[in-house]
């Protein structure tokens, strides 16, 4: 609090990024948020910006109307305030500079955030996901793979989790020897087991081979992995880096596996660029799409030259290669990059997503993130810039992974139980530091920070909001028929993810959403079903026998008991809407559920008349409130949790 000199400034103007619209309101600065409240409008529009979300604050040169303050956020919000008095502006600016980069973990929001849960609820939240159970689900341990306690105390590799799965034939000396030959001690361990073919996906870091170094234990380790799979005589070793980068690493005593030294391996470069290229690429992309008056040429050329979609494609390509090797050839694959925590995590998790329908469910996806990203030590703290650190360590690796997932969801709209909204929420909270899950760089560090005792789990929170996170188009039968996804990678299959990168630019979104329509339909069906049921009960009471409800032909519905329809779909689309329903007692027809026109009367209505009004877009349309498009539900979420 000592940094806040001016907690409140009035008459601040907020400029819209893509139109000339301005709104006037009051700016509040609290210990955790910067809040803008639009003045003199009923149901005032509020913007809540978490300090952790702010990537940069910039004071632009003074204009006649005041002092402009440009704030860029990690969740791709860009706000442009004009503060009437320069003094106020400077106060806020310097306060924010202090607030936005905490120097120690204790200052992070997660340690002060309290969602009014009791101790037991908190503990339950942390127990929601269980990685041991996840490995059991894959069929581990089994006759070829076992749990090793070699890393119980993080002695062999401090960035790995405690529990690791290795081939039964890999003895402790082999493991320890191999780990000494691998960058950061990250020796090959299993991350996914494809039961059907007994093929394993393993991950590690690059070998310290330099130009000629060898390590017998490491060679044994790979041999053990190969022997654990009887379906294939060899193991694929995927180096996810471009060959040039790998060669350059050799000069530093690192490098890649020499096929001559390892029997039974097939070595393959995949060519995904490093974190610095990705950082620059996304920055370029955002610059291009953030331009106000963008010509067709600028847009298309910019989209291409930023290379972002190409990089996304490279990762998907790598995942497809991995998937084919495992599911078609039945071969085990060892994936690594340099340290094995960025590209490796991307490729392994995306590959698993393609192979296993379980990971395409809501809980499965959480497990996947927990396993491949959190426990295997993707450096969230460094990559997401949680503490004031080295800017060269910051990179949108996780964002890029979410982007890949989204591209797959676009191609397979029925195969994912979770919605785009869920991905955006994840992205939001990876940066918000509101929950403990993503804090720190490794499991070991998280334990030291006692996160489970001192913070709350995001998974519990998302589960409590699961009705927002579900994809109404999800179809289980689709997953049963084609458990392995085979995405296409022609250039037109990769699109700019507008709902992520422009999530706060309401004018950028289309006005109607198929998703919402489906939600409305599902809702109405659930209500009908309830009505049928109620009528039946009534009739039964009256002593009239009726045909059982099951007579209803629904051949496509093999809904498992784990997904009770009423619980998910019967829930109102949002709290606001629920309130409204109660207040107005209105009979919701299909039309009433849609935004905009009420369909009643002959009044002419317009959709998308100017570039500024209405329609926060698909997200808002499908999950937010219908009558107040001004309230962005993202903020609602934060606001609800804070107050």
């Amino acid at each position: 609090m000592e940094h806040i000199r001016t907690p409140k400034v009035e008459q601040v103007k907020l400029l819209d990024r893509f139109s000339n619209k301005t709104t006037t309101g009051t700016l509040h600065l609290t210990a955790t948020h910067l809040i803008f409240v639009e003045s003199n409008v009923s149901g005032a529009h509020e913007i809540w910006i978490l300090h952790h979300h702010i990537a940069s604050v910039e004071k632009l040169s003074l204009t006649t109307t005041g002092c402009p303050l440009l704030i860029q956020c990690r969740n791709f919000r860009v706000v442009h305030f004009v503060v009437p008095r320069e003094r106020d502006c400077h106060d806020i600016y310097s306060s924010l500079l202090h607030l936005l980069r905490p120097e120690s973990y204790d200052e992070l929001y997660a340690f002060s955030y309290n969602p009014k849960q009791n101790e037991q609820q908190r503990e339950e939240g942390w127990q929601l996901l269980d990685l041991t159970a996840e490995f059991e689900r894959m069929g581990l341990p089994c006759d070829q793979w076992q749990l090793t306690d070699v890393n119980r105390d993080y002695k062999v590799c401090e960035t790995y989790p405690r529990d690791l799965y290795v081939p039964i034939t890999a003895s402790k000396p082999i493991i320890v020897g191999s780990s000494k030959f691998r960058s950061k001690g990250r020796f090959p361990v299993l991350t996914y087991f494809y039961q059907e073919k007994k093929a394993a996906v393993c991950r590690c870091s690059q070998p310290l081979s330099g130009f000629s170094a060898r390590c017998l234990e490491d060679e044994h380790m790979l041999q053990a992995i190969s022997r654990a799979n009887h379906n294939s005589r060899f193991v694929y070793v995927m180096d996810t880096r471009p060959k040039l980068n790998a060669l350059a690493n050799r000069a530093a005593g690192k490098g890649y596996e020499n096929e001559d030294n390892y029997s039974n391996i097939r070595f393959q470069f995949v060519g995904i660029e490093n974190i610095h290229v990705m950082r620059a690429s996304l920055q370029k992309l955002l610059e291009v799409v953030g331009t106000r008056a963008l010509s067709v040429t600028d847009y298309l050329a910019g989209l291409e030259s930023s290379g972002w979609l190409r990089h996304v494609k490279a990762i998907v390509d790598a995942a497809i290669f991995l998937t084919k090797a495992v599911t078609v050839e039945g071969a085990s694959v060892l994936v690594h990059c340099s340290d094995g925590w960025d590209r490796t995590a991307q490729v392994c998790s995306l590959g698993a997503l393609l192979m296993d329908p379980y990971y395409r469910t809501l809980k499965g996806f959480m497990v996947l993130i927990e396993k491949d990203w959190i426990s295997f030590g993707h450096k969230f703290a460094d990559r997401c810039d949680q503490l004031d650190g080295d800017p060269r360590e910051v990179s949108p690796v996780f964002t890029q992974f979410l982007d890949c997932v989204w591209q797959l969801m676009e191609q397979f709209p029925q195969d994912f139980e979770f919605s785009e909204w869920f991905l955006i929420q994840l992205h939001e909270h990876v940066h918000s530091c509101q929950f403990g899950n993503f804090l720190g760089n490794s499991q070991r560090q998280r334990e030291e920070l006692q996160l489970k005792e001192r913070t709350y789990s995001l998974w519990a929170h998302l589960f409590s909001e699961r009705h927002h996170c579900l994809n109404p188009l999800y179809s289980l039968s689709s997953a049963e028929k084609h458990p392995v996804l085979e995405p296409l990678t022609q250039p037109w299959n990769f699109r700019f993810w507008r709902n992520m990168y422009h999530q706060f630019d309401r004018s950028m979104h289309p006005r109607q959403s198929v998703l919402k329509h489906t939600l409305a339909l599902k809702e109405s069906n659930v209500q009908l079903e309830a009505t049928v049921h109620a009528l039946k009960m009534k009739l039964q009471k009256l002593g009239v026998s009726t045909s059982p409800l099951e007579l209803l032909s629904r051949p496509w519905e093999h809904g498992p008991p784990s997904r009770p329809r009423s619980l998910i779909l019967g829930a109102p689309l949002s709290r606001k809407e629920a309130q409204q329903e109660e207040e107005e007692e209105e009979v919701l027809g299909e039309e009433a559920l849609e935004d905009g026109p009420d369909g009643s009367g002959g009044e002419r209505t317009a959709e998308g008349s100017s570039a500024t009004e209405n329609g926060y877009g698909e997200l808002q349309d499908s999950f937010g409130s219908k009558s107040e498009p001004a309230v962005v539900s993202l903020e609602l979420g934060v606001a609800r949790m804070t107050c």
Binding site: L528, E591, E594
Partner: protein, 689 residues
């Protein structure tokens, strides 16, 4: 034809080459091809590339028969496709096979390998086989060469190969052929002939066949004859097509009924028969809506002041404000700034017919510079100085030649091979999306003027049958929800495009061999693309789906139906199109379900303003890239929704049933009402109870 002759006279012979082992069995296809034309060197390169790619990924699905081929065997199509819908719905990528689109069961074919494919050839009523050539090789740019039988009928080219499982089928409507290119090729001492069929619908299939064998040289002559019937004194196939549909599509558009729907005639506007014999304007329809107070003689003077006598007439009237969309051609102002008092008064009358505004807005679709140069050629535009209360806007849309060039470039980008690394910049160089944006933006301006400013608008370009039709019909689509229904859209096309004389024959070149004719231009394709862009932004505002749009475009070229034939209503009357041909709408309206968008919600009186920003425009890959086997058909989300709707219908029925039961069994209706109240009854049905 001269070109072909010269090519075949001088075949350049090269020593044979063989590509990859995979192709060994059918080497004749892949061997050295060359010709004086540079493009054929390119062809060789592509062939190599295609061969290699077919070796890499053996799972690439075969090219699929084009959609329009379903037309003829509608019955089979419906039978074979319907049960398939749900299954194919779950199919992923490469499992997509063309067997489901074939009228013949794949199993039967397997056994009847020796059977001549002609026996199973799907023919539409009235279609007859003209020639069959065996051992023809189709050089598929995606999956490599494949050898089979090529059949020519008077309606289509049909290629089937039993080499692959399922059988590989390709068919091309003769109407879609723009030009033929042929050349001689030497292969293993045999003379081969290559034939490239350049199509209007974004593909160019290539065939190879032995020259001496059978009467194959006839093939080329016959294809030319039947592909360009009008150049060879043959009738268009539409006049031979004899399918009987349960619905008569010619009844879809009744101008009087359509104007009545708009509330016309009214006190200011009248439906005039002045053009009933096409005397005033031979490219306009017989019925015109003009201001009531204007005398016929004066009108004729206005006509003489407008290019091609296309006077300003009403296209659409706002149901509340009486603001109108009026279309016409350019005024013949000329270099000497001629004036026509009657024309000035006429526009004044149009303005006065709308009490809401004291301005008339004129949208000239052209660029100012082009309009100026037209002025020197006796054309021009309305000067704001001369016409009182007129506001003149230029929409800067380039002419038909620019559009033709743009689509030609687009074809190079999407067919046959795609440069993955330069996909976006490739699209950019065609400027296609930019023109789409200009059109949409122009139409939004017109719609906004009418809706928000309540001002009447006059739209014209040079002759008022190209850009004008695009703009007025798009604006009407935005303003009037009726046109977004299946029937309404048919009416819109019949009205704004067909009856108002968009020169379909000239722009498409039906049955004409002169492919280089500068009159050809894909303006209608461009319009449909704009509609598709709108559909993407408003997925629940249109009653029809993407298949409907693609079907329309396929039959724009196919010459199967009479709908898009000829340049004007007058010509169509003379050729008795309505009595001698079948309407496309007969076909469409006989199976409406196929073309219905399940997401459709009828918002009456809803105005759509699409964002004409390029961030919201996308290349319509579902149409332009559809020949690429990697183009996955739309994911069956629609199916999911259809199921939900079906479920709802069933539930509603159930509720109804139960309620009836409840009320009949001495229970009071109030109790059932009570029962349903906790759920807030989410159905219209409940309001009725």
């Amino acid at each position: 034809m001269e070109k072909q002759a010269s090519v075949s006279d001088s075949p350049v012979l090269r020593k044979p080459r063989t590509f990859g082992g995979n192709l060994g069995s059918r080497q004749e296809s892949g061997d050295s091809l060359d010709s004086p034309t540079g493009s054929h060197v390119e062809w060789c390169k592509q062939l190599i590339a295609a061969t290699i790619s077919s070796q890499i990924s053996a799972t690439v699905p075969p090219e699929v028969a084009p959609r329009d081929s379903k037309t003829g065997w509608k019955t089979e199509y419906r039978v074979s496709r319907r049960p398939n819908l749900r299954d194919s719905g779950e199919e992923h990528g490469c499992q997509w096979d063309s067997a489901s689109q074939l009228p013949l069961p794949a199993g039967a074919l397997k056994e009847a390998q020796k059977l001549v494919a002609m026996d199973e050839l799907p023919l539409v009523p009235g279609e007859s086989v003209k020639f069959t050539a065996k051992d023809v090789t189709y050089i598929c740019p995606f999956t490599g060469a494949v050898t089979g039988t090529l059949t020519l009928t008077d309606y289509k080219l049909y290629f089937i190969s039993l080499e692959r499982e399922p059988p590989f089928v390709l068919d091309v409507n003769l109407g879609a052929i723009s030009r033929l290119e042929s050349f001689g090729v030497q292969n293993h001492g045999e003379n081969m002939r290559g034939l490239e069929i350049v199509c209007k619908d974004m593909r160019s299939p290539r065939f190879l066949y032995k020259q001496e064998e059978q009467n194959n040289e006839e093939l080329e002559t016959l294809i030319t004859q039947y592909a360009f019937p009008l150049s060879n004194d043959l009738p268009l196939f539409a006049f031979q097509y004899k399918e009987a549909y349960p619905v008569d599509g010619w009844k879809v558009y009744d101008p009087a009924a359509e104007y009545k729907r708009q509330g016309l005639p009214n006190e200011s506007w009248t439906i005039s028969k002045i053009n009933s014999n096409y005397e005033v304007c031979d490219t306009y329809p017989a019925l015109l809506v003009i201001p009531t107070s204007f005398k016929d003689d004066d009108l004729k003077r206005v006509a003489s002041f407008r290019a091609k006598h296309r006077i300003p007439v009403l296209s659409w009237i706002h149901p509340e404000t009486q603001a109108t969309i009026v279309r016409c051609s350019q005024p013949l102002v000329g270099p000497s700034d001629r004036r026509c008092k009657d024309d000035e008064r006429y526009l004044q009358t149009i303005m006065d017919a709308n009490a809401q505004s004291h301005k008339l807005t004129i949208f000239d679709a052209r660029q100012l510079s082009v309009a100026d140069s037209n002025k020197s050629k006796d054309g021009g535009y309305e000067s704001e100085n001369i016409y009182p209360n007129v506001e003149l806007n230029f929409l800067d849309i380039p002419n038909i030649h620019v559009m033709r060039e743009s689509l030609r470039k687009l074809k190079d980008v999407v067919y046959p091979t795609i440069d993955e690394l330069h996909w976006h910049s490739g699209i950019d160089t065609t400027h296609w999306l930019e023109y789409i944006r200009l059109l949409l933006a122009g139409a939004v301006r017109i719609a906004d003027k009418v809706e928000s400013s309540k001002s009447s608008v006059v739209v014209h370009c040079s002759d008022g049958w190209d850009r004008t039709a695009q703009l007025t019909s798009l604006a009407m689509l935005m303003l009037d929800s009726h046109y977004r229904t299946l029937r309404g859209f048919q009416t819109l096309l019949e009205k704004e495009w067909i009856s108002f004389g968009h020169k379909f024959t000239s722009r498409v070149g039906h049955g004409d061999k002169n492919h280089a004719n500068s009159e050809r231009s894909p303006l209608f394709v461009q319009f449909v693309d704009c509609v598709w862009q709108m559909m993407r932004q408003f997925p629940s505002a249109f009653e029809f789906n993407e298949l409907f749009l693609i079907t329309i475009l396929d039959h724009l070229y196919s010459c199967l139906f009479g709908t898009f034939l000829y340049n004007s209503e007058q010509e169509r009357m003379e050729k008795e199109v309505q009595s001698k041909t079948v309407s496309l709408w007969s076909y469409v309206n006989s199976q409406l379900e196929e073309f219905t968008n399940p997401f459709y919600v009828d918002y009456e009186n809803q105005v759509l303003y699409p964002l004409a920003s390029l961030r919201h425009l996308e290349l319509w890959v579902g149409y332009y890239v559809r020949w690429n086997p990697h183009m996955r058909p739309q994911m069956p989300v629609h199916q999911n929704l259809k199921e939900l709707q079906f479920l709802r219908a069933e539930l509603q029925k159930k509720v109804e049933e139960l309620q009836r039961e409840a009320s009949s069994s001495r229970s009071i209706s109030s109790s059932s009402e009570h029962a349903s109240s906790p759920s807030h009854g989410g159905t219209p049905l409940h309001t009725a109870v």
